[in-house]
């Protein structure tokens, strides 16, 4: 079993054994599963507030910033720094997205290499978690693509550039490289019940587990996964199927 599959299953087993009563709280707990603990050492080393930008090479003169300056426009969102290609026209929602999940300590070396690949491949936009809390979460770096083949190209280049990089891993996403460092997801249609793939899948998992609270944990988990499979989700690889979002699209 790969790292992401193991992380996802361990989250679900824990949730099945001891779930909060509130589906939203459980969904949030599942969504955040895989977050590295914050502690004084990592806080001191990365710095408070926006200082972790320096560790990523995003401050003035930093290697990542210099590579991005000519081709990307940066904006600051709550919890994120977002980068979009300056020349890119306004487009529809992305077809798919890529998660890049090194452990926080690997970011000072890995981030500039990730940026180089994104710049070379002309990735339309990507975002990186803001502040130390943004870098501790598993889905700390996300890139957006119009077409699946471009994502595949970027995956191949990143596997080459990030070989040996220590992995954190994003639960409930589709492993792309075998070690959990790179994974993908497809967001549900805009205007639906959830704004992202992970929000969508964790909401359904939480609802399923809470609906089966009276059953033994293993049975509750099996029933929940079975429900999800009936929506076309591959629960071994955490990949949405062609029919998964049809009801949402119709709505």
């Amino acid at each position: 079993m790969g790292r992401i599959a193991r992380l996802s299953l361990s989250a679900l087993r824990m949730a099945a054994r001891d779930a909060p009563d509130d589906p939203a709280a459980l969904a949030q707990w599942l969504y955040r599963y895989g977050t590295v603990p914050r502690g004084p050492a990592i806080e001191r080393d990365f710095g408070p507030d926006d200082e972790p930008m320096g560790a990523l090479g995003l401050t003035v003169g930093g290697a990542a910033r210099r590579r991005l300056e000519s081709a990307y426009e940066a904006s600051t969102l709550q919890g994120w720094y977002s980068f979009a290609r300056s020349a890119a026209p306004a487009r529809l929602a992305a077809a798919c997205k890529l998660y890049v999940s090194p452990i926080p300590r690997a970011l000072p070396d890995a981030f500039v290499r990730i940026v180089e690949v994104f710049v070379q491949a002309e990735v339309r936009s990507f975002k990186v978690g803001r502040g130390i809390e943004g870098l501790l979460r598993p889905d700390k770096i996300m890139a957006y693509f119009d077409e699946r083949p471009q994502l595949d190209v970027v995956v191949a280049r990143l596997m080459d550039r990030l070989h040996g990089c220590p992995v954190q891993g994003v639960p409930f996403t589709a492993d792309e490289g075998g070690d959990g460092l790179l994974s993908s997801g497809v967001d549900p249609p805009w205007g639906g019940t959830a704004s992202s793939w992970r929000a969508w899948v964790t909401a359904r998992l939480a609802a399923g587990l809470i609906a089966r609270r009276d059953r033994p944990p293993a049975a509750a988990l099996a029933g929940t996964l079975s429900d999800l499979r009936s929506h076309g989700v591959d629960t071994a690889r955490w990949r949405a199927g062609a029919a998964t979002f049809r009801p949402e699209a119709a709505a």
Binding site: D18, T35, P40, A41, R44, R105, P108
Partner: protein, 697 residues
């Protein structure tokens, strides 16, 4: 050359539009913590881009200063302020005149027709030409100078530093800088390309160097936990300053912003405006000596505090400054726990020795610490002979050895079994609070996301007493969950409100110190908790069951509680605390925890001596925790070996296995090791700061 001195009685002064008056209560938690608890009700006066030190002023003075948003004579502003507040103008003037004069001296209040009265704006735009160079972008803007990235006629990028106007003082600095760059001719400094005057403005054009401040370069290596490359970076920096001194040049303004790390790792020293030749012996004072207070040597700090003319910069003072910079690059922290309030900072520089890395929560590095400690000696003659010698000693310092050799024994098995059971959420109803605490500490020790998630589930089962809320608050911090943290703090206060005194209040106050210290980085409002704690300190805290006379005389617990809260940075020290500590010391009361904490707070060597002179607890679990505390006090790695041995003995004794697991978790992060904030853990009493009849060991 001196600028014109304004007539303080007659000149009309203005508070420039970009001067900010920020109430301390509105600052981020991090800045509030740095400023300290004594600044409540004050405001910070600050001006970005200007070489002025931010000032703390009491709120009434801040309101008076705000009167200068429109130009006014000092007396007129005071009159207007006094009338609108129903106060006697003469009394206000008497009270405020010195403070206003200080702000004029600091150039925060400026004559209305002075150039500094306007907000800073770039004087040149991209595409504009200046002295044959094409401006690309503004890099740095100060009140007297600007630095642009520009293009030379041959297409080379250049750094163009120019005076904002024709004032002679800046022109003199630029001329001096050009002369120094010419002398140095590249290498560790940018190559001089040209210099002169254009439209009356002095300028220096020099080689453009891509790279980041050495502070950022070091931050990247600290974040990556790459001590080998960090040592090499600092070694290159020290070698560069060593070569500078060997060429007879003092830099004069050492700080991380003046030292660049290029992409290939080479160091470039910047900004030679305050540089000077190493002077002959006997050149003892320098009115124009520059620098940032954090990098002052003790002699400079003493002179500034005493209002005396500063001693001239010397190779020895600059050795101190580069050693401070090295310490900061290696740890991310100042060597003497520098506060933001300048007078206190200067006092500490003058009085205190550098702290061991372990005392700042950074893994110890004995060889490097020894080299830096010598460079940071108070007496110049005790420092290295010169910076080049310091650089050589530093480069020869070994990397820190690994932790004591790992030998897997019964203690490790306790830890492994506990973490496995926690991940499976197996613990039963007993010791829920302690199990949740163990899960949290193990998660932090191992950077383990699964243990953190398990800690969250286990904490949800804990009763909502103040102890359980303490776990919840620390967990919320570890999960970066500000809302959960605010809920936990609110629940803590609700649970602790009924405590009126005695040991229960003392323990709750200790737990509040845990929350205040551990949650300083989050945005949750901790002021109500700090207020409750400060009020609680004024209540009687003697331990029940002791003879009252004895408890009052030598009970160390109230002092320990007070010290814990003071160290959190949120509660001011009670006026009687130092006298209380003297009394305890005279009675040979207190334990390792009390005296180590007293040393953390007051940096008094006698407290350290007391902590080290005491016998350690006999029970292996507490002995292990005590050894870890002494490691944090001294950085002495032998204390880690002692703690590990104690864990092994605890595992072979009747100590509960999960209590041993907790000690193992702390051993895995010894620089952050702590006792649990409860009176017992897994049924084992934690007698911290307990009274000992007769003061017997």
């Amino acid at each position: 050359m001196n600028e014109a001195v304004p007539d303080i009685a007659e000149a009309r002064f203005i508070l420039p539009p970009d001067v900010k008056l920020l109430p301390v209560a509105e600052l981020s938690a991090r800045l509030r913590e740095r400023i300290g608890p004594g600044a409540q009700g004050h405001s910070v006066v600050t001006r970005q881009g200007f070489r002025v030190t931010s000032r703390l002023v009491p709120q009434p003075l801040a309101l008076l200063i705000d009167e200068f948003r429109a130009p006014a004579r000092l007396t007129d502003a005071v009159l207007r302020f006094a009338r609108s507040n129903g106060q006697d103008p003469q009394a206000v003037l008497d009270l405020a005149f010195d403070a206003l004069a200080t702000l004029v001296e600091a150039r925060l209040l400026v004559p209305q027709d002075a150039p500094e009265a306007r907000a800073l704006a770039p004087t040149l735009a991209p595409g504009q030409g200046f002295a044959g160079f094409e401006i690309e972008r503004l890099v740095r803007s100060l009140e007297d100078s600007e630095v642009f990235r520009a293009r030379a006629p041959d297409g080379r990028p250049v750094a163009l530093k120019l005076a904002r106007d024709a004032r002679p003082a800046m022109a003199e600095l630029l001329t001096r800088e050009a002369r120094m760059l010419q002398t140095l001719d590249g290498g560790d400094s940018p190559q001089l390309l040209s210099h002169g005057r254009e439209h009356g403005r002095g300028y220096v054009a020099m080689e453009w160097c891509d790279g980041v401040s050495i502070g950022v370069a070091a931050q990247q290596l600290r974040a990556a936990r790459d001590r080998r490359r960090l040592r090499d970076l600092v070694a290159r920096m020290l070698a560069a300053y060593g070569r500078l001194h060997e060429r007879g040049v003092l830099h004069g303004d050492i700080h991380p912003g003046n030292c660049l790390c290029r992409d290939d790792g080479r160091i470039v020293i910047l900004d030679f405006g305050h540089a000077r030749r190493i002077g002959p012996a006997g050149f003892t004072a320098d009115l124009a000596r520059a620098g940032i207070p954090q990098f002052y040597d003790p002699q400079m700090a003493q002179a500034v505090r005493a209002g005396m003319v500063p001693p001239a910069a010397s190779a020895a003072s600059e050795q101190y400054a580069v050693a401070v910079l090295s310490y900061m690059l290696l740890t991310g922290l100042h060597p003497i726990d520098a506060p933001s309030v300048q007078d206190e900072l200067l006092r500490r520089i003058a009085d205190r020795p550098p702290l061991p890395f372990a005392a700042r929560g950074v893994p110890s590095w004995p060889a490097v610490e020894a080299v830096l400690a010598r460079a940071l000696s108070h007496r110049p003659e005790d420092r290295h002979p010169d910076v080049a010698s310091l650089a050589r000693a530093f480069a020869a310092a070994d990397l820190p050895s690994d932790r004591p050799p790992k030998r897997r024994d019964a203690a490790d098995r306790c830890f492994d079994a506990a973490t496995k059971a926690i991940k499976a959420l197996m613990p039963g109803p007993r010791w829920r609070r302690d199990t949740a605490w163990l899960a949290l500490r193990a998660a932090q020790a191992l950077d383990d996301a699964e243990l953190l998630a398990a800690a969250d589930r286990l904490t949800a089962r804990v009763d909502a007493g103040w102890a359980g809320c303490t776990v919840a608050a620390r967990l919320a911090e570890a999960r970066s969950d500000a809302r959960a943290q605010a809920r936990a703090v609110g629940a803590f206060l609700a649970a602790a409100q009924g405590l009126t005194g005695g040991p229960a209040l003392a323990r709750a106050l200790l737990a509040s110190a845990h929350i205040l210290e551990g949650c300083a980085s989050r945005s949750a409002d901790l002021q109500p908790l700090a207020t409750w704690a400060a009020r609680g300190l004024r209540r009687p805290l003697p331990v029940a069951g002791r003879r009252r006379a004895f408890a009052v005389a030598v009970d160390p617990l109230p002092a320990f509680v007070a010290l814990s809260l003071v160290r959190s940075g949120r509660v001011p020290a009670p006026a009687t605390l130092e006298a209380h500590l003297q009394h305890l010391a005279a009675n040979r009361a207190g334990d390792v925890w009390l005296w180590a904490l007293a040393h953390d707070v007051f940096a008094d060597a006698r407290h350290r001596t007391l902590a080290l002179s005491l016998d350690l607890p006999r029970r292996p679990l507490m002995r292990g925790f005590a050894s870890l505390r002494l490691y944090r006090l001294t950085g002495d790695a032998r204390r880690l070996v002692d703690a590990r041995d104690a864990a092994t003995r605890a595992a072979a004794s009747t100590t509960p296995a999960w209590a041993v697991a907790l000690l193992l978790a702390e051993l895995r992060m010894p620089e952050a090791a702590m006792l649990p904030p409860f009176p017992t853990v897994f049924g084992v009493p934690i007698p911290v700061a307990a009274a000992r009849p007769g003061g017997a060991p």
